[in-house]
């Protein structure tokens, strides 16, 4: 056995060290609450990133957290690749921005955020059914909707061309500062307007390609007919009268669209508007914002408004973005705290203003910020963008199918492919049979 001799000096040193160690939790260093890394969507509106950066640093300073922000572009699906890689490696950022379908695709890898959502709903009001559909799995919230990147892809019409060619006064239908008077704005009215605009050499710029903008419009029009390809229980419903009606309608509409519409991507409608050719496009205000810079005369004539109503209601495409916390994050409590902070009305307002009104909060009390009423020219052009009077149902193409099936329907652009097949002369029943076979393929688990 070994014995240890303690000198008076040893006792003093040990006591001092133990005292310091015990006192440590009360010492608040520069980064006492640890580290947090986040991958945010790289905003395409200049200044959009700066606002979120300032907010995060403000929170980090107050809470003594060392933060790292990466802005990840959605160009070339870089953000999707990053999400897939981090999920596979179970390593990466603590918080990541997830586009529309991604929270559901990675539900098992995400930390539930029921507590954060409960606080935010209490403060900001309820969220719409599309947010619930996309961010809830197994009765738990798996991600928090963020205004950054969220958008409604409703019509952006040319005031002058719609009035002159189709006899429709979009400003009277959707007056700034007041509720819509759009009862006459139906799918039939849009079809007539499309014909008039086409004959006036200013077709409506609605694409029939395989990218999101095209699919979103098709999704909303299908929903306006009640044409669900797959129902909420996962049953295939493609051979229904509602789907047939939607396809017949689209075939009539397609003859008045640009002949190259089947090749359109997400940029095509923006270019069509800025060129001065389009009488209407279906896009969030980013196209108008670019027009303000590149074609101010066109921008002055743009008016963002609601979708036309169909037999089963007025549906508008809504694409929310989410912030999620990986369940392998090492600082979940700090991550949740930051999400709460970014969801505060003051934070949301700052980000919406930085994006010139492009970003859209999902909470009902935050759809009447003053920026949308004030943005212009023309003043009030964005007033109806956030659906302030709830006169349309915000939805996403392929809903109400179970999200994992709907994701496939959406990504594979089944609805626009059906339209293009049918409009190119394929028999309706053949198109439906093709779609049914594709949908059967999406049922695998």
């Amino acid at each position: 056995m070994t014995t240890m001799k303690l000198t008076r000096r040893d006792v003093l040193v040990t006591t001092a060290a133990a005292g310091a160690a015990l006192a440590m939790p009360h010492v608040r260093g520069a980064h006492a609450a640890g580290k947090l890394s986040m991958g945010f969507w790289d905003h395409w509106v200049p200044g959009g990133n700066k606002a979120s950066q300032e907010l995060v640093h403000q929170w980090a300073e107050k809470n003594k957290v060392e933060v790292t922000i990466d802005y990840i572009t959605s160009q070339g699906n870089k953000n999707l690749l990053t999400i897939a890689a981090e999920a596979q490696a179970r390593s990466g950022h603590d918080i990541l921005a997830f586009p529309t379908w991604e929270p559901q695709a990675h539900a098992k890898d995400l930390e539930p955020v029921d507590d954060v959502m409960a606080d935010l709903i209490k403060e900001n009001g309820a969220v719409n059914q599309t947010v619930e559909y996309l961010a809830r799995a197994d009765n738990r919230w798996i991600a928090v909707p963020t205004c950054v990147g969220s958008q409604i892809k409703g019509p952006c019409s040319r005031i002058d061309l719609m009035k002159e060619l189709a006899g429709i006064d979009v400003q009277a239908m959707y007056p700034p500062g007041g509720p819509p008077k759009a009862d006459a704005w139906t799918l039939d009215a849009m079809l007539k307007a499309a014909e008039a605009c086409y004959k006036g050499d200013h077709p409506m710029g609605i694409g029939l390609g395989q990218t999101e903008d095209n699919v979103d419009t098709a999704g909303a029009i299908f929903q306006s007919f009640g044409a669900d390809l797959v129902d909420a229980k996962g049953e295939i419903r493609v051979k229904s009268d509602a789907v047939r009606q939607a396809l017949e309608y689209y075939k009539k509409l397609a003859q008045w669209l640009p002949p190259d519409a089947p090749a359109w991507d997400n940029a095509s409608n923006n270019k069509y508007l800025i060129s001065g050719k389009a009488s209407m496009i279906m896009n969030p205000p980013s196209a108008w914002a670019v027009a303000k810079r590149d074609a101010p005369k066109v921008a002055e004539q743009c008016w963002t408004h609601g979708m036309p109503a169909g037999p089963k209601g007025r549906y508008s495409p809504f694409l929310p973005y989410f912030l999620g916390i990986w369940n392998f994050s090492k600082n979940k409590s700090a991550a949740k705290d930051l999400l709460r902070f970014l969801g505060q009305p003051s934070s949301v307002e700052k980000m919406v203003e930085a994006s010139q009104g492009y970003d859209l909060p999902a909470f009902e009390k935050l759809t009447t910020l003053k920026i949308w009423a004030e943005e212009g020219p023309p003043k009030g052009t964005l007033y109806h963008y956030p659906n302030p009077h709830n006169h349309q149902i915000l939805s996403i193409a392929a809903a109400p199918a179970p999200p994992k099936i709907a994701h496939q329907i959406y990504t594979q652009a089944i609805q626009t492919k059906m339209v293009v097949r049918f409009m190119r002369g394929e028999k309706l029943e053949q198109t439906l049979a093709w779609a049914e076979s594709e949908l059967e393929g999406f049922m695998r688990t």
Partner: protein, 310 residues
Amino acid sequence: MVDAALERPAAAGAVRKPSALRRRLQRKSTIAFLMTLPLILLIAALVIYPALYSLHLATLNKSMERFVGLSNFAFLFKRQTFWMVVKQSCIFAITAVIFKALIGFVVAHFVHNIPTKGQRKWRGMLLVPWVIPPAMSTLAWLWLFDPSYSAFNWLLAKFGVEAIPWTAEAGWARFSVILVNVWIGSPFFMIMYLAALKSVPEQLYEAAAIDGANWWQRIWYVTLPMMRNIIAITALFSLIVTFANFDIVRILTAGGPIDQTHVFATWAFWIGIQGGDIPLGAAVSLFMVPILSIAAIFILRDINRRGNEA
């Protein structure tokens, strides 16, 4: 030689022999192995591991939670779109390689016949399409083929010709992606064929001329047999690269209209990354392996046989 161990004088007697490890380390083959080891490790990390990992992924179910064996492949075989992609990949790769080889062969002859002094400039200029990163040059082509603002259509309109739906109609869209691939890839064939042409002994042509061979006979009986191996190897390499092409289709048509220009790589990306079905995407991308392996076996066997005959 490093392999030869030097013997010490017998008088040294007590001097120790080099250890087995030391002898092994001094062998030429060991040194060669050690020198290539970094590259082997790099290939293992960046090629072999991902390849095995994608094999593993292809055997999982959609949610990547359980092993399903070859079910993903069996599922693909039942899909109409999959067979369309197989057909399109074959049309794309085979047509593009044939045209690249033909154009490369013709241009190589032209360049070969240019006097040596000016040849370098032509060689440099002709290599430009191959040197520019394809993602960038394809963007330029996209502007030329743009659905609404095609520069080609603008030119055609000047001559009263109706606009061509370059990327909106299946036939034109396929033509467009093949054309861009041929434009990018032909210089590679040209430079390989040019090198082969330069190595054909001049005496053979002289002998053929004495025998009264015309231009066509010289090509058929002298040039082509002498270039056969290079033609085969170049075609094989290009076939592999063209089959695996991603950027041209992705940028120019994104697989549209209605999936009619998708090739394996773009469809695998669409399903795996964009559609969130990584196992099925991995299965699609792996489908290329047997096709290319069969092509490689046939071509390399042929080259080997000719080598042995020689």
